[in-house]
């Protein structure tokens, strides 16, 4: 470079304004200038004065504000024009390269838009410094920008990645995840290793405020787990060279995580769940070891009812009243395993019930069903309930939701909750099982069959035989150890027939009076019922005393056989006993009286 003028001198003649121009003029024109200097100067001053009076001036100084290369093989520089001095102004970009003496003009003013210069492959050298200047010229004069020293190596900023695809997939254990894939931007040469790209993705659910950002290194795919079903997620990607700038975020793509369908369980008070009084719920199911709750007025615990249905929508029910969907009490024949008002609590609250937790938010059929390790018994979450439920009576007509779900998790299978209920409750509840003996004999038998026989055929046979015993469209909760609860459609009552010497209650299905239970307000007349307010120890039933006189007969009758125990933790293990508790335990809703779960609580530690 020794022959070249030092860059500082070269810069001079590109001009910083008026003064240097004059200085360069002096340099170039040499000695002659000195003689005509006064007249030249006067002329220039005159010219300037005239144009100032006209409001015209040479252009302002342009500024090259950005140069970028998207691929390390081409690059573009953009400039800001500056003022045009009131006259049409031309812009030209000139450059020279390190190690070269010559100055060149921009090869392409068009490709990258206005006020830009695009250097194609032919004109781009990497690992060389370019000295670039923009000159604005108008009638009055010209103005040059500060020179910019650019090495293409360090100005690399790619285009964003393309072909962003989203797909919801499943692992073998039914866990769903979002599979995100993309491609590098088109023009970058990643294959030969000339360009090494790194990526980042970000995602958020539609309603969320903040993005979740993940750096993915050089890979062009990514898995995201633990997304909420029913939500729509938005995903974007961007990329960066190994040494350079991040691209902008690419085109958004969104996907909705499909709901995991589950059976709908009717007959449960969603209010209970929404208020978070899970402990009451659990105690209603006979789960032990739950702290008693104070206010039980608004609790409604019914049986869990499951109808088999293609329509696996969740049913958000906000009414305190019994949902009343097809809730019809039916005869509970001794031979009829309708299962009204009862459930196989033994199977519900299996030894899987462990320490109490917060109310479980997530329900997931497959998780429950996997436990028996009978794949045929599993209910795949996305299949319709009918085809996939060996546990459930084929005739069950529709599912209704287990209203345990909080709103945000309504989209999950409700059945998970039952297993979780088990988990929360802790401990088997044999007492309830014995309570439900008569009606439950078949169920218990069935469930035991299920437990011992893990073949689908056997189950189906049982199911069918079960079915043949039921004339009506009801089903007994078919529960395996860890199976979800299925409840017959209409809840019903059982009448305690007697208590045998083993402490087993024999139950009669309640005789239905004509449409009695279907009329609103009917419960007032269903006076022969008594509610079980709790179970003590293993086999002592604590009943709610009915203030009405009609109930006393029942009590009296039972009292003959069983010494009553009143809110005490007596261990009369050989006898079932009835106990009167406060009226608080009594709930009347709609047509039916229900067990107040809180009344159970005192019977559990």
């Amino acid at each position: 470079m020794s022959e070249n003028k030092p860059l500082s001198e070269q810069r001079c003649c590109w001009g910083y304004g008026e003064e240097p121009l004059i200085h360069c003029l002096y340099q170039e024109t040499g000695a002659n200038m000195k003689e005509s200097m006064p007249s030249a100067l006067a002329f220039i001053l005159l010219f300037l004065n005239i144009s100032l009076l006209n409001g015209q001036s040479p252009p302002g100084k342009p500024e090259i504000y950005k140069c970028r290369s998207p691929d390390k093989e081409t690059f573009t520089c953009w400039w800001n024009p500056g003022t045009d001095g009131g006259l049409p102004t031309n812009y030209s970009l000139t450059y020279s390269k390190e190690g070269e003496k010559t100055t060149h003009e921009c090869p392409d003013y068009e490709t990258s838009g206005p006020n830009s210069c695009f250097f194609s492959k032919q004109y781009t050298s990497i690992w060389k410094i370019y000295v670039i200047t923009v000159i604005a010229t108008n009638q009055m004069g010209s103005s040059a920008s500060d020179p910019l020293y650019v090495d293409v190596t360090y100005i690399v900023e790619p285009e964003p990645p393309r072909n962003l695809t989203l797909e919801v997939k499943q692992l073998k254990d039914k866990k769903t995840y979002l599979w995100i894939k993309w491609s590098p931007p088109t023009i970058t040469d990643v294959k030969t290793g000339w360009f090494t790209m790194e990526y980042e993705i970000r995602l958020k659910s539609e309603e969320a405020d903040e993005w979740e950002v993940h750096f993915t290194g050089q890979q062009t795919h990514f898995k995201v787990f633990d997304l909420y079903p029913g939500q729509k997620y938005i995903v974007q990607t961007r990329c960066k060279p190994d040494h350079g700038y991040w691209s902008r975020w690419g085109q958004e793509n969104s996907i909705e995580i499909p709901n995991v369908p589950g059976p709908k369980i009717k007959g449960f008070d969603t209010h209970l769940l929404e208020k978070g009084k899970s402990e009451e719920l659990l105690t209603a199911l006979g789960c032990q070891d739950f702290p008693p709750t104070s206010d039980s007025e608004d609790l409604l615990v019914e049986f869990l009812e499951v109808d088999d249905n293609e329509d696996v929508q969740l049913m958000p029910s906000h009414s305190k009243e019994y949902p009343g969907q097809g809730v019809k009490p039916t005869h509970l024949d001794p031979d009829n395993d309708s299962g009204h008002g009862s459930y196989d609590s033994h199977s519900l609250l299996s030894e899987k019930c462990e320490e109490p937790q917060v109310y479980p938010p997530a329900f997931h059929i497959p998780e429950i069903l996997e436990k028996p390790e009978n794949p045929e018994a599993n209910i795949p979450p996305t299949q319709d309930a009918r085809s996939s439920t060996p546990y459930f009576h084929a005739d069950v007509s529709k599912w209704s939701t287990w209203p345990l779900l909080p709103s945000q998790h309504m989209t999950r299978s409700p059945y998970h909750s039952i297993a979780d209920v088990c988990k929360l409750a802790g401990g088997p509840v044999d007492t309830l099982a014995s309570f439900l003996d008569k009606a439950g004999k078949n169920v218990l038998k069935f469930s035991k069959t299920l437990e011992t026989e893990e073949e689908k055929v056997a189950e189906q046979e049982k199911k069918k035989s079960f079915h043949s015993e039921t004339k009506q469209n009801t089903s007994w909760p078919l529960l395996q150890k860890n199976a979800p609860i299925v409840y017959a459609k209409p809840p019903d009552y059982v009448e305690i027939h007697k208590v045998n010497k083993d402490g087993v209650l024999s139950l009669f299905p309640k005789q239905k009076e004509n449409d009695q239970v279907e009329k609103p307000g009917v419960p007032e007349t269903s006076k022969e019922y008594t509610k079980v307010s709790g179970v003590m120890d293993d086999n002592i039933l604590v009943l709610v005393p009915d203030s009405r006189a009609e109930n006393t007969a029942l009590f009296a009758e039972s009292a003959k056989k069983v010494p009553p125990s009143l809110e005490q933790n007596q261990s009369a293990k050989d006898l079932a006993s009835f106990a009167a508790t406060s009226n608080n335990c009594r709930l009347q809703l709609g047509r039916l009286d229900y067990l107040d779960p809180t009344c159970f609580t005192h019977s559990f530690h």
């Binding site: 030969t192 290793g193 040494h243």
Partner: protein, 226 residues
């Protein structure tokens, strides 16, 4: 007598062998390489070497940024400082197409020369920069670190050559670093200009090494299908 002695020897030997077996259970067994050849696969060699070259580049880029802060917007200074890099005498390819046309073993040898030719200048830089800038400490620590990493980089590249191109090994040629003038007795401005240029060239050469190695990896290990 003799048989008795040899019996004793045999017994002792047996005892030794058995005791070795019993007591030496915790000794790490010798690595058993497939085919008896305990070589690291080429891909892993390249990955390690590229990790080093990537790191060295980041260090040199940091170094340059620290220095450049001192002269931000001083166009005149920068214009004066920019002069030939001494390593320009090495015929390193100046673009993608050029680099792809160079045979891999030749390129590897070029890389070796390039890295090696920075050993001394880095060493000198540590003393040259000392105390003259605010950023001196940052620059010095990085210069030392680059010196360390370059040694490992050289080892790694030599391993690659030895494994992939054993015939070409030994053809290394090093440039003689004579064009960096000594900075002793030089005025402040010239010294600063020289330091600026040196660090600028270091950053560039580190980038070249890193980019060449990444090109070679995709070419040799992945068959141009990265």
């Amino acid at each position: 007598m003799n048989s008795h002695g040899s019996d004793r020897k045999a017994g002792t030997l047996l005892l030794l062998v058995v005791s070795n077996l019993l007591f030496c259970r915790n000794v790490h067994p010798l690595p058993i390489c497939p085919g008896g050849n305990c070589q690291m696969p080429l891909q892993e060699l390249f990955d390690r070497v590229i990790m080093l070259s990537h790191y060295v580049y980041l260090l040199s880029a940091d170094m340059f940024i620290e220095l450049d802060k001192q002269y931000a917007q001083d166009h005149e200074f920068i214009a004066k400082a920019i002069s030939d890099c001494p390593t320009s005498s090495l015929a390193t390819p100046e673009g993608k197409e050029e680099a792809q046309q160079v045979p891999p073993e030749v390129l590897l040898n070029l890389i070796l020369s390039l890295v090696h030719s920075w050993n001394d200048p880095l060493f000198q830089l540590v003393t040259e920069v000392d105390g003259i800038h605010e950023a001196s400490d940052a620059i010095i620590s990085r210069a030392k670190e680059i010196g360390e990493q370059n040694k490992r980089l050289l080892e790694g590249i030599e391993k690659i050559l030895g494994q992939a191109y054993p015939a070409a090994k030994g053809n290394e040629f090093y440039s003689v670093w004579s064009q960096f003038p000594s900075l002793q007795g030089v005025d402040e401005e010239s010294r600063d200009l020289a330091i600026y240029n040196k660090i600028r060239c270091l950053r560039r050469d580190s980038h070249k090494v890193d980019n060449y190695l990444k090109l070679l990896r995709c070419r040799i290990v992945h068959n141009n299908n990265c």
